[in-house]
Amino acid sequence: MTNEEMAQLGASIEQMTEIAKSFGLDFYPMRYEVCPADIIYTFGAYGMPTRFHHWSFGKQFHRMKLDYDLGMSRIYELVINSNPCYAFLLDGNTLLQNKTVCAHVLGHCDFFKNNATFRYTSRDMVERMAASAERIYHYELQYGRGRVEQLLDAGLALSEHIDASTDGRNARKVVKQQQFLQRRGDNQVVFTSNPHARTPYDDLWELDGKPPADDVKKPIVKPRAAQKDVMLFIIENSPALEEWERDILSILREEMLYFWPQLETKIMNEGWATYWHLRIMREMDLTDDEAIEFAKMHSGVVLPSRMSINPYHIGLAIWEDIERRWNEPTVDEIDKFGRQPGQGREKIFEVREMENDVSFLRNYLTKELIEKLDLYLYQKVGNDWRVVETDWEKVRDTIVASRVNGGIPVLYVEDGDYNRNGELYIKHEYEGVELDLRHLERTLPYLHRVWGRQVHLQTVVEGRDVIFSYDGKKTQRRFVKE
């Protein structure tokens, strides 16, 4: 982008900001940064400019950059959920592309600010991640790069298994309070059900000076109920972790809690931003050439895919469908629900506030829409992938199911003292789709790394309950006897 183009872009942004506000979009102050491709791809790979170092991000960066260099794919922008909201624009984009991107980003920022799923995300994550990265760097200096890297390998492999629900987010606070009470000696009230927590002689040990260090001989507990937050359970209860290791895992958990709402609202969020870049760009004065360039860019973004769901495409279609149905309700809808015509805009703003992908798809991906978009289910038949289902309810339910828990298998910690030997027992909540066993067998050693004792994971293979166990040397699988 030339300096002249930068000036033009600035003027356009001012205009677009006004247009967006007049539409009722409500966003944080915006910080647009124009940067070269390798910077955009770095941020894309790390998820955040200030995140810590790890080779897997380097690998991701290399892959994305390679695709870009070969012209296979490109990302136009990167937007960060923060206040103020940072948006990184690609220097190599044309002026019109960057204008569209700015309009798109306003949609995202409005969504970040107003969608319920994002209610508890930290808006100062840029700074927090910088501080965490600094801390991890110091651990590298203190404990060695190899050890920190190994722990990050394990932590990143497990970091998706958290509980981002409101209760889950608060769980950490509750535990902290309990620990505080425990240190003060008020533990009887809190830990009556747990005989391991304290012995009658602890006060004698404490006379020696300092209380027993946290990292040696953690009391091994059973979760009171099956606990979804595997990371938290490990952080709080693993007998094998040192304090700095707990800190690093806590960092990973905190970062995942921050990213989680984005996993849960991918289709809504991209659809919403696409909906608004269309509306905003229509209000702009475009020359004929620009109009054509915009149309080409937009149709590239919403290009349907035979092998997957393009969130921009499906998302936009649903948003427009909701608006239409509330603008022009059928006679039936007026009679049944008392729906008045012309409430489309109001309705979509309500939906953007209340729903996440699962409820959005379940409530608004209608029969008509599925047929219009020609959505189907396919599966591997012999050597080929074939269409196996076009029935709208089954299509919808499968898409909804694929978005549950952000598309990540749900695990529960069942027991932290399995076999009365401090072993970790985790159960996969099987809902019809099997796990990738090769990955599973290779992830167990990571679990063992952070738990320090034998680990077990129960899942379903070919309709039978199977337990995978790893004892530090090899993985065993056995069927559960009925």
């Binding site: 900001t17 035979r306 959505l375 076009t390 990955h439």
Partner: protein, 386 residues
């Protein structure tokens, strides 16, 4: 509150992605080291012209997660209208289903369910790892050296030089020293402070060496046997050319008779007929007598065979090998013996206790690497038994 800002900063010092990419490459290299035995016998490497980038299967770089099995689930897709049940969305890719690719032969499909992440590495990268462990054993200084090893040594500091070679410590010291003078307010680096490291070329005389590569090309040497032998010599040749400036390699092919061949013939042509190994040894001895006096050369004869020698010839072989050993720094005998049958030649050589004699049995492709390490290492501790 400012509603928006639009900025373009200088990002040229931001190298985070590149740094971690480098760490990933290091890990690839580690993985290469672990898989060296497999890689050494990888056909795609041997067939390559040595320049191209090859895809090498690496097992350890995937990021493992608990995730769903994509192959088993149902997935949603978007059609272009009128999609019917039974329509094909995508054809299965042969490489995903373990169907053998061209030239894979018996190697394919050995390990069902294991697929590899492919990492791109250059032949140079593999060589760098492989050759670090190899060297010519017991190399002795011989007269009339014409081998040289050139290295550079940074041992001088000057005021002019290449900016990549700035000696930061000395430059800073200089700046601080100057800042100590009166009238200087703060430490700043001026052009006079700059100090550059600079180097000198070092030329060391090294020893002469010649490798006599002998290969059995008789009818009994099947595809597998020839493949192993050629893989070995391929790496040996590259290793010697990379690490030693002026080592000579002579190629001798034999069946019942031996003759010298050029490199191209040695690596590509097949022959047939019976096997009389002593012919090659005789040829080598003649060559040594005529061209490579042992007092001037380090001599390394290496012989590859399937061990299926004419029984009546064995006695002669033992005699000739003893003679060769006396003249050589190391004599290597490698036998490609896929089915571990009792070979006539190995049983004849089994009794040798000469320090120069080294033998190795290759039963499968991946043992080529072991043979390389066995032959090209300093006086090895134990000799691998047949």
């Amino acid at each position: 509150m400012i509603e928006f800002t639009l900025e373009r900063e200088d990002w040229s010092l931001h190298r985070k992605g590149q740094q971690d990419q480098e760490r990933h490459r290091e890990k690839v290299r580690e993985a290469i080291r672990e898989n060296l035995a497999d890689l050494v016998s990888d056909e795609s490497l041997i067939m390559s012209d040595g320049k191209q980038i090859v895809k090498v299967p690496i097992r350890s770089l995937e990021e493992y997660r608990i995730r769903y099995n994509f192959q088993k689930g149902r997935h949603a897709g978007t059609g272009s209208g009128n999609t019917q049940v039974g329509d094909v969305v995508a054809r299965g890719r042969p490489d995903q289903d373990g169907a053998p690719g061209p030239g894979q032969g018996e190697g394919a499909g050995e390990q069902p369910g294991v697929d590899y992440t492919e990492a791109e590495v250059t032949l140079d990268e593999i060589q760098a790892v492989l050759f670090r462990e190899l060297e010519l054993p017991d190399l002795a200084d011989k007269e009339a050296a014409d081998m040289t090893v050139e290295t550079v040594d940074f041992r001088d500091v000057r005021k002019k030089g290449l900016s990549t070679n700035i000696d930061k410590k000395r430059t800073l010291l200089q700046a601080i020293r100057r800042a100590g003078r009166p009238h200087e307010k703060r430490v700043s680096i001026t052009p006079e402070d700059l100090r550059y490291k600079t180097w000198e070329d070092i030329t060391k005389p090294d020893s002469n060496a010649v490798i006599l590569a002998m290969m059995d090309l008789s009818g009994s040497m099947g595809l597998f046997e020839k493949y192993c032998a050629r893989t070995f010599f391929f790496w040996m040749t590259r290793f010697l050319r990379t690490k030693y400036a002026n080592v000579q390699i002579r190629y001798i092919a034999h069946h019942t008779e031996a003759h010298e061949v050029d490199e191209e013939h040695f690596f590509n042509k097949g022959e047939s007929g019976g096997t009389i190994c002593s012919s090659a040894y005789e040829y080598a001895l003649t060559m040594i007598r005529n061209e490579y006096p042992p007092e001037r050369y380090n001599i390394y004869p290496i012989h590859f065979s399937d061990g299926d020698n004419l029984t009546s010839d064995n006695e002669k072989c033992v005699k000739l090998v003893t003679e060769l050993c006396a003249m050589s720094r190391m004599f290597g005998y490698a036998e490609v013996n896929q089915y571990s049958r009792a070979s006539t030649l190995m049983s004849a050589y089994g009794k040798f206790e000469l320090p120069q004699f080294r033998k190795y049995v290759i039963r499968e492709k991946s043992e080529v690497y072991g043979a390389l390490r066995h032959f090209f290492s300093q006086s090895s501790g134990g000799v691998r038994s047949a």
